[in-house]
């Protein structure tokens, strides 16, 4: 380890040191308020360090982690999502008995795992990051101390995610068997090039991508998603839908960029099938949902399906940085609108209630009872639909432009059809919210100031980046090194 290593690792060291600090804090002085403050401070320090280091040249640390603008952008996204989750969770868990402090410790640990995946340049780093993230999530999903649904969801996620991790690990082992290396750049270089049709190599890639498809909940591997999203506490669901998927996507995109794995026809065909199935399947399955959390779960399946267009473009486009730019812009939009939608569910729920505010009845006439919540939810849903003047439109526009440049017409048709179906179920929630009357039987918990403040900020940024996206786009372009940004 040399000085430059420490400088490049500064955001990681801040989070890791923060974890130790929070752990000691929880052992000696239990106070939710102090814990929340410290969590936010630690994450903000790390975010600041990410911002400071964003212009530095790429730095590879012993072939293990590659710290560059790409990793920094993803890290910033994960840290922001973690801050939002921490603030939302505080109001959600208020008034509940039991120990709440570990929630924040696990949340920061999960963020560290996600950040590791974003910079991973070695299969061992991928696996360690993934497991830190997943193990923290198992507990976060089953965090509530009362009731069956969280534990059921946690157990489902534990078993299925464990199997998926094992599948990925076995795939990595087979790839190592075929090539003799675990480092991405060596996998991509011609010195290590193996006959690409070698059986072990292909079987390894296949198993690896099956595990990834599970973690991203792409359609043939999506069965767990609605149950886990419904059972998990609402703030955790938001974190699960954004950071967990974002981290896996950050790894896949980097892996595809460096090793050029999508140049293998079989792999890109399989991913194409996953993408089309996810776009159509996710949206069709969401149509009949009366549960808002399940509806958003299916919608997130469809959205990751859209995102695969950018991933597949890596194998098609000559300049793969365009695909990276599209992916990151899309993910920024996806993070914001998903966090906003689950955020509204969170502020309308409380962990002392039997279930979260997830039935669509809880939203009947919401506009007349909680106008601000309803407005933010409407914005988030419009953005998820991809209506102009929201960030969702900019994000989808980017995907379509990338897809058109790569001539991926089948995928674009699937995107258009999927989005058309999606209008129906997003609009249904909006119509229900503006209906007069109804919902009187439903009592919402009292207003949570910090939760609402966060939501207002996200809601405004949804519109702001939709109306005036150029600062965001310029920032992304300059960070990943597109000239003239």
């Amino acid at each position: 380890m040399i000085k430059q290593d420490f400088v490049a690792l500064a955001p990681y060291l801040a989070v890791a040191g923060g974890i130790v600090l929070l752990m000691l804090l929880v052992s000696f002085w239990r106070s939710v308020r102090v814990m929340l403050t410290m969590t936010v401070v630690v994450l903000l320090v790390s975010l600041g360090l990410v911002g400071v280091g964003i212009g530095n040249p790429p730095h590879l640390i012993s072939g293990f982690l590659l710290i560059d603008g790409y990793a920094a952008l993803f890290n910033a996204l994960f840290i922001i999502a973690a801050i939002v989750t921490a603030l939302l969770a505080y109001g959600y868990m208020r008034g509940r008995g039991g120990e709440q402090e570990e929630f924040y410790l696990l949340l920061v640990l999960a963020t560290l795992g996600a950040m590791t995946m974003a910079a991973a340049h070695h299969f061992a780093a991928v696996l360690l990051g993934l497991e830190i993230l997943s193990i923290s999530l198992y507990v976060l999903i089953g965090y509530s101390e009362e009731g069956h649904p969280p534990l059921e969801a946690a157990l489902k996620y534990l078993v299925l995610s464990g199997v998926a991790s094992t599948t990925m690990l076995f795939g990595m082992a087979l790839i190592y068997n075929a090539t003799g290396t675990l480092v991405f750049s060596e996998l991509g270089s011609t010195d290590f090039a193996v006959p690409r049709d070698e059986l072990y190599y292909l079987a390894g890639q296949g198993l690896l991508f099956a595990g990834i498809a599970f973690k991203l909940s792409l359609v043939p591997f999506h069965m767990w998603t609605p149950d886990v999203y419904q059972g998990a506490p609402a703030p955790v669901t938001g974190f699960l839908a954004t950071v967990s998927k974002g981290a896996v996507f950050a790894f896949v995109l980097r892996y595809a960029l460096i090793t050029d794995v999508l140049a293998i026809p079989v792999m890109s065909t399989v991913l194409l099938v996953f993408a089309v199935l996810s776009m159509l399947g996710g949206n069709l399955l969401a149509l009949l949902q009366n549960n808002v959390k399940r509806l958003l779960a299916y919608s997130s399946i469809a959205h990751i399906g859209y995102l695969l267009i950018a991933l597949l473009a890596v194998g098609v486009l000559a300049d793969s940085l365009i695909a990276v730019e599209a992916s990151i812009v899309y993910l920024v939009g996806y993070f914001l609108m998903t966090l906003a939608a689950f955020g509204v569910v969170t502020v309308l729920s409380s962990s002392s209630m039997e279930v979260d505010a997830e039935s669509i009845d809880a939203y009947t006439g919401l506009f007349w009872r909680r106008p601000l919540c309803a407005v933010i939810m409407t914005t988030a849903l419009l953005s998820l639909t991809g209506i102009p003047l929201t960030v969702g439109f900019v994000a989808k526009f980017y995907l379509i432009a990338t897809g058109a440049e790569g001539g991926m017409w089948l995928l674009l048709w699937a995107l258009v059809v999927g989005s058309a179906i999606a209008v129906y179920y997003y609009m249904r929630v909006i119509f229900v919210m503006v209906q007069k009357g109804g919902g009187d039987s439903y009592t919402h918990p009292s207003v949570k100031v910090e939760g609402m403040a966060v939501l207002v900020v996200i809601g405004l940024s949804l519109i702001l980046f939709g109306v005036y996206p150029s600062p965001l786009i310029d920032f992304v372009r300059s960070s990943i090194g597109i000239a003239g940004g």
Partner: protein, 171 residues
């Protein structure tokens, strides 16, 4: 000759793994699991990884035994279950695992008595593993520490609920 040794160990590992998932009682399955792990340890040794082989025996076979003991202790067995336990562990049960373990034992004696027999041709000593872990893979070791911390905090939180429920049940 090494290849024959490998195939014997590999077939024992496969057979016992299948037996693990087909046994109906947990204790029988566990004994086969230990034999399976011992067979994998022999394979590691043949591959030239004596350190990994030792870890396989110490951590997997050893730790899983201890874990199983803990589970049995926490289950609070009554007299009827003790009788049932005794039935599970009757001598007939031990024949299969003993034979397989004996085969592995003779393999080990053969390997240790002769010149180092390796399928890969290169042996990696524990020192080399240690050097690698604390230079190239230092970050990995640190991250593994955080992985364990996450597991520790998580199991503490989930276990506390269980312990509290138990306490309420008792008094």
């Amino acid at each position: 000759m090494e290849v024959v040794l490998f195939y014997i160990a590999a077939s024992i590992a496969l057979t016992t793994s299948i037996l693990v998932i087909t046994r109906t009682t947990a204790s029988h399955a566990l004994i086969y699991l230990i034999v399976s792990l011992l067979a994998v340890a022999v394979i590691f040794y043949l591959l030239g990884a004596p350190f990994a082989a030792a870890l396989e025996v110490v951590i997997y076979a050893g730790a899983i035994m201890v874990l199983f003991l803990f589970v049995v202790m926490m289950l609070n067995l009554g007299p009827s279950q003790v009788a049932q336990e005794r039935r599970w562990l009757e001598p007939r049960m031990w024949i299969g695992p003993s034979i397989l373990t004996l085969i592995l034992f003779f393999e080990m004696v053969y390997i240790l008595a002769g010149t180092p027999a390796l399928t890969s041709g290169v042996a990696v000593s524990a020192k080399e593993v240690g050097e690698r872990l604390f230079t190239t893979y230092l970050l990995g070791v640190e991250l593994a520490g955080f992985l364990l911390l996450a597991a520790l905090v998580g199991s503490y939180h989930l276990g506390r609920r269980y312990m509290r429920a138990r306490r309420e049940e008792i008094g």
